[in-house]
Symmetry: C3
Subunit: 241 residues, 3 copies
């Protein structure tokens, strides 16, 4: 029996991971799905990356979780990398699911194509609180390309405006991920076009992990909605010793 902590991506909350958590629990494991500070309903959208990382580190501390298999999705890769640097003794293995892998001093926007940075800059500057939302056409075509129109809409309706500072704040790490002495896995959904595949998640970002275990499955960036059972199986393959 292992303890999994699933850390969501931008615009999501922990609750949106519950359909993935259930089959992992059914297999006998403990699964937590916390929401990162800045994505809870009442949180200020001015939250920065440091506070976001701290909120998950505090979650592990306050629940006294050890030997944790810590998964991050997308933006969640920034968060789990920071958490692993702060509380390494609580973590057994990191799993990056189509997630950003930062080295010390990098911000999320450093790993994103320029046209997305331009879009985020424009959207956030028009918001009252430096937050960003993803336009629906991008969500439907490039994020949840394997879902029906109905699922694309119903999932979009559950997203929340994201604190843009977490994309522009550089991360502060005492060691880059490749140097971390900890198990590392990368789950790559082969139809994920949230990043263009010419500037994609794997192997461009995954290989920043150094030695890591690759698990690959069909699906989009939003497999948590389109096939949570398949994602849960991949997570257990990625998380086992």
């Amino acid at each position: 029996m292992s303890t999994y902590v699933l850390v969501h991506g931008a615009w999501h909350t922990g609750a949106l991971f519950e359909a993935v958590a259930q089959p992992i629990r059914d297999a006998g494991h403990i699964v937590h799905c916390p929401t990162i500070r800045g994505n809870n309903p009442g949180d200020p959208r001015t939250t920065g990356l440091d506070a976001a990382i701290a909120s998950i580190a505090e979650f592990l501390d306050s629940n006294d979780l050890d030997d944790v298999i810590l998964l991050g999705h997308s933006y969640g890769g920034m968060v789990i990398t920071g958490v692993a640097d702060r509380v390494p003794n609580r973590i057994r293995r990191l799993i990056y699911w189509n997630a950003f892998v930062p080295n010390n001093g990098e911000c999320l926007n450093d790993m994103v194509p320029p046209h997305y940075v331009d879009l985020f800059d424009a959207v956030s500057s028009e918001s009252p609180d430096n937050s960003v939302m993803l336009p629906f056409p991008i969500w439907r075509e490039a994020f949840i390309n394997d879902g029906s129109a109905e699922l694309a809409q119903s999932s979009y309706d559950q997203l929340n405006a994201h604190p843009y500072a977490t994309f522009t704040d550089p991360i502060s790490l005492s060691a880059n991920p490749a140097e971390m002495q900890i198990g590392k896995s990368f789950i790559n959904c082969t139809e994920d076009t949230a990043l263009p595949q010419s500037l994609g998640w794997h192997p461009r970002l995954s290989e920043k992990l150094g030695l890591f275990r690759l698990v690959q499955i069909p699906g989009s960036h939003e497999l948590c909605f389109t096939d949570p059972d398949a994602l849960a199986a991949a997570i257990m393959d990625a998380g086992r010793d």
Copy 2:
């Protein structure tokens, strides 16, 4: 219920898409499989790209088809791009299935590796009418690599000599595909080696579409022969809203 128009590739005819059309019809849609001018039995093999494009635009006009989901396979990508430029109001979405995506002024040969251009130049210059045929060993190993020897032969026997001018004529467009305000999908068969995968269909050509929906499935360039049901399912995923 949607209206699909499936536009074949070089050496093929519309009739060779019928096995793919059937399961789409069974799901309640209307499907047309026209043959491009230059590939009909009696057509002169000196047909150029402009006449090829015109023949499909005229097909949509003469059948008064609207809200069309227009698919092009391989060379058919040249044709549907031209059709979308000429009769945009008739089209709901373009689907490129391992297809060429031209910008204004490009010809098909601009997107093909030099050794294929050399081969096509040689074969066409030896023909009486500037037509090209694909040598069987290339068909068997690089186009229909997932089929049996028997299927490779029986499908090859149904191909026709292709008008080479359609590979060398530059396309004339008022806007490049990335600028077209229309839904766009790309179906990529992951074992397609009709173009070498180091200079392949996706993401090299697909990303010329700008925002597009990726659908990926196992199979070769000739999945229309080797698994028409799987291709039909992919087309419906690519074609839905």
Copy 3:
């Protein structure tokens, strides 16, 4: 009915291919799984590439095998390329399964990333007989990433120290693989990270074959352990005419 000869990779023996051979035999074919000189229990670990190649060529000769479908896995690609150059008349088709494809004058280490060469140099220099062993963490994470911890361990326990000269000896060929007038197939396991996928097996090495047939399947570098039935099916698709 065809005759298959399966040539294993570094650290393996022919016996480790028996679970793959069985379903091919069940389909009516003859399958041989010889062990390359240098990997048998009693062989000196100072064996070089030339002797390794000679041992498989001699196996074909002494068993008077003709029309052979000759498969090489990983390092076995060096061996079958040399065998095809020496006894071309005995061979119907070559199958490279995530295997090295050398041109004349290349050694295996020429196709491997520098950090692996450094590792092999260090390990072999500490051995009594210029042999190399693969550290278990690399085996578990990068070679058999799709297996359970138990299978990773039990398979590792069956490996043997490998003669390092076979990685550093350049191969001597009268013609490069692309020029060989013989059928050629490449099986690519899509989750194979034994080579980093940014410097991977396919298409980087496969395209050195010239015209070849691609067969792709899910799985790691060690699918012979994790799913021998799926590998056997892929081998028969790759080996048929």
